[in-house]
């Protein structure tokens, strides 16, 4: 966690929070949908030249925050996923097109029994990074552990699975309580990681200190929380395509330090940069940059019904928005999403007004409102509230967050809102939000594959994430329809209505979809940055 120089992109903080997700947190299009997610823009500022990649070399990656203990069953940070992607492969993975793709499984699961039985066949000849062969029993062990370990962060994602059995040496059968079309996606995340049963038996609860899985790299050491060292695995089935001799992760919380480390060559991959520094690098031919727009979004939560805490009955707090809900629209009209993005985030994010990413197959473009001071003033006048209207905006600490608040304050002032930015330490802010002790809170969400998980937790009565305390029966019934609809097109139709409903400012003003950025030394080729924000180094190496 950053301490002084907390001007990391909001994604870092929200990503960390977001990291504590269920296993299916990978951002990708649902497997059952045929629709492509190609809008996830993977852009390289320098076109990758087709140069020959040498074997050997040390890849050093700067991450902005430290992963937790490297146990796939308990790890819950975004940065942990980046490490796992290179040393702990799962049954499935995410292709560069953003689709689930078999990794340790030999093919997509065979779904039978009306969606209640999944049969997965394993790739043959695979060995864990301690030489133990991969078999169905190992998969059963890992999945059962994910479900039963008390501190498991995967249990809730796997709760629909009632039994896991090895039906052959290489086949595993999963029985579900109810059909769950997101299961393959879930198994493409940390829930699908298979760990070495030998190592598990040896390390027990300390598995996270010495993790052994299947992967192009294997765990070597973690001399401190901020330093993770991996080396090329001799056991990996595709080892011939792995070029780098080692892959190290080092935590650099300060973006300026990250930048100077990249320039001085102390790191050759930077995932820890500030947007403005990435913008600087774009004109530097010694580096290449990549950006993906993710499912993560940021918005402004407005306390309209959370007077006494999320777990108490909804009650309108004493603030202008709760008294006059139309002021939310006025507020939205008073700010410009584009300006926020350009001034604070160097234009890297994607302005938007719904919780669904542009790449989501369920997203329907509805056209966001644009800044319109006259209209905002008219709405305010109609409410009869005298201006300036005092508003306290709680922003998590961090330079960029504070600036976001200042831009919002500066813009909203012209419509008659007197916004006070209150920079608040993150956990304190969360506690305040849960207890309803706030007016407006700038907070985001790391995003989920399934549209429902990007919406329901924030609007369901009594949900811990329903900071706004909003209760909207129309939305609730739409959300039920969305969950029960079976086809993608039917769901898309429902979510189009949902997005429309959400755009009418129920309690959250959505601002933008977050971009993740990566800068690498131009000499390093073959780094794959997938739309879920994960960096794959399996085929990366140095050219000269």
């Amino acid at each position: 966690m950053p301490f002084i120089f907390r001007h990391r992109n909001t994604s870092a903080k929200k990503g960390r929070l977001a990291g504590v997700l269920i296993g299916a947190s990978l951002v990708l299009a649902s497997c059952s949908s045929g629709s492509s997610s190609s809008t996830a823009a993977t852009t390289a500022s320098t076109a990758a030249p087709a140069a020959t990649i040498k074997n050997g070399g040390q890849i050093i990656v700067g991450l902005p925050a430290a992963p937790e203990a490297l146990d796939p069953a308990t790890e819950a940070t975004y940065y942990g996923r980046i490490v796992f992607a290179n040393m702990c492969l799962g049954l499935y993975g995410i292709s560069s097109a953003g689709l689930p793709t078999p990794v340790l499984a030999s093919a997509a699961p065979v779904i039978s029994d009306g969606g209640l039985t999944y049969t997965i066949t394993l790739r043959s000849g695979v060995k864990f990074n301690d030489g133990t062969p991969l078999n169905a029993a190992a998969v059963v062990t890992s999945l059962t552990r994910d479900q039963t370990l008390p501190t498991s962060a995967r249990a809730s994602a796997l709760k629909d699975i009632v039994s896991v059995t090895a039906t052959g040496t290489d086949t595993v059968q999963l029985k579900l309580a109810s059909p769950d079309s997101a299961l393959t996606t879930i198994l493409a995340g940390r829930s699908g990681i298979v760990v070495s049963p030998t190592a598990l038996a040896k390390e027990g609860a300390n598995f996270g200190q010495q993790p052994v899985c299947v992967g192009p790299f294997m765990f070597s050491s973690r001399p401190s929380l901020d330093q993770i060292n991996l080396v090329k695995s001799p056991y990996f089935y595709d080892a011939s395509k792995v070029h780098a001799a080692s892959l190290d992760f080092t935590v650099i919380t300060d973006p300026s330090t990250c930048y100077s480390n990249l320039l001085s060559g102390a790191i050759n991959v930077a995932a820890c940069l500030a947007p403005n520094d990435v913008a600087l690098l774009k004109s530097n031919s010694a580096y290449q940059t990549q950006t993906v727009i993710t499912n993560a979004y940021a918005g402004l939560d407005i306390n309209v019904g959370n007077a006494n805490g999320y777990n108490k009955p909804s009650a309108a707090p004493n603030n202008p928005f709760a008294q006059h809900p139309s002021l939310m629209k006025a507020f939205e009209l008073s700010i410009s999403r584009k300006t926020i993005n350009n001034v604070v985030f160097s234009g890297i994010n994607q302005p938007g007004c719904t919780p669904l990413a542009p790449s989501s197959p369920y997203h329907t473009s509805i056209g966001c409102t644009h800044r319109n001071i006259a209209e905002a003033k008219a709405i305010i006048a109609a409410t009869g509230v005298s201006t300036p209207i005092p508003v306290t905006l709680m922003e998590p600490t961090g330079t960029l967050n504070t600036q976001e608040g200042e831009v919002i304050a500066s813009e909203a002032a012209q419509a008659g809102f007197n916004v006070t930015v209150q920079s608040t330490e993150f956990t304190t802010a969360l506690a305040a939000a849960e207890s309803g002790n706030y007016e407006m809170f700038a907070i985001g969400w790391s995003g989920r594959v399934d549209p429902d998980q990007n919406i329901t937790p924030f609007y369901a009565p009594g949900s811990a994430l329903n900071y706004t305390g909003v209760q909207d029966p129309t939305l609730q019934s739409l959300l039920v329809q969305g969950r029960t609809a079976t086809t993608v097109s039917a769901r898309k139709a429902v979510y189009a209505q949902v997005e429309k409903r959400l755009a009418s400012d129920l309690g959250i003003i959505y601002l933008y979809h977050e971009a993740f950025q990566l800068a690498t030394s131009a000499k390093l080729q073959g780094v794959s940055f997938t739309p879920d924000g994960i960096i794959h180094f399996a085929n990366a190496g140095f050219t000269a």
Binding site: F3, A69, Q209, L225, T427, L430
Partner: protein
Amino acid sequence: MKRYLYRRAGASFITLVLASMVVFAGVRALPGNMAVALSGENGSAAAIAAITKEYGLDKPIVVQYFDWVKQLLSGNLGISPQTGQSVVSEIAQRLPVTIELTLLSIAFGIVVGIPTGIYAALRRGKAADYASNSIAIFGLSIPSFWFGILLILLFSVRSHILPSSGFVSFFSNPLGNLKDMVMPVVVLGSGVAAILMRQMRSGMLETLRSDYVRTARAKGLPERVVIGKHALRNSVTAVVTIIGLQFGVLLSGVAVTEQVFLLPGIGQLTIDSVFQRDYPTLQALALLIAFSYIVINFLVDVAYSYLNPRVRLVGASK
């Protein structure tokens, strides 16, 4: 003397116990608790309950405190929920970095500050005196984080003389280790040097004015002997005290410098733990810092009472 030591040790122990209570209560007074912070954005009730149970957060705070003390006494500081590592090993990994930084900074302060202080005292009222005094005040006035950033800009970004950050162990790469340490030590040590310089200067002046130095001079002892033997020795008590205090200040104040130069020490861990509500780590760290502060204070007092027996007699007359 023995009784004095016992009394002093007893007082230190009480301070430590008080400190442990304050740490414990203070950590829990922070808004947002560990279970919520840990289980994060999608924490299910079950996960929160599991963490709550695992760390005993559902028990009354007094019971939690005594459980913790019991654990402490058996040498077990618990498991850090952020890293899954034992707090002891996490601190053990980081402490050497902070201690190295602290020791080197104090060494830097001594090497730079003491000779300058003596020189300034001997050239009292001359340009050299004002120059060194001004530089010392400069050293006291410069914001350490800013100084650090300026150094990085100059020596790492503009000219690639020194690494901007990072840390390698002295035992695996002594030269690299020292290179990593140069800038942080200059940043931290300049403050120490400034304080020591000023202390040394005023101590020297006082002794130089005293009767016995005058006598020593009158006896015809060479100036070097007068200064080296008499004046210097007499200023040592105060300097020892300052060094001891600075050691404590540095141990707890390195967080910023560690942050700027990315040194994996305990300062940064402390702040991280505050933000992450990592109770076990935070408790252990705060106690460790309090403990080292108290121990250093104790040692300084004892050293002082040996160097200057009058201290012991405070409390003699009513």
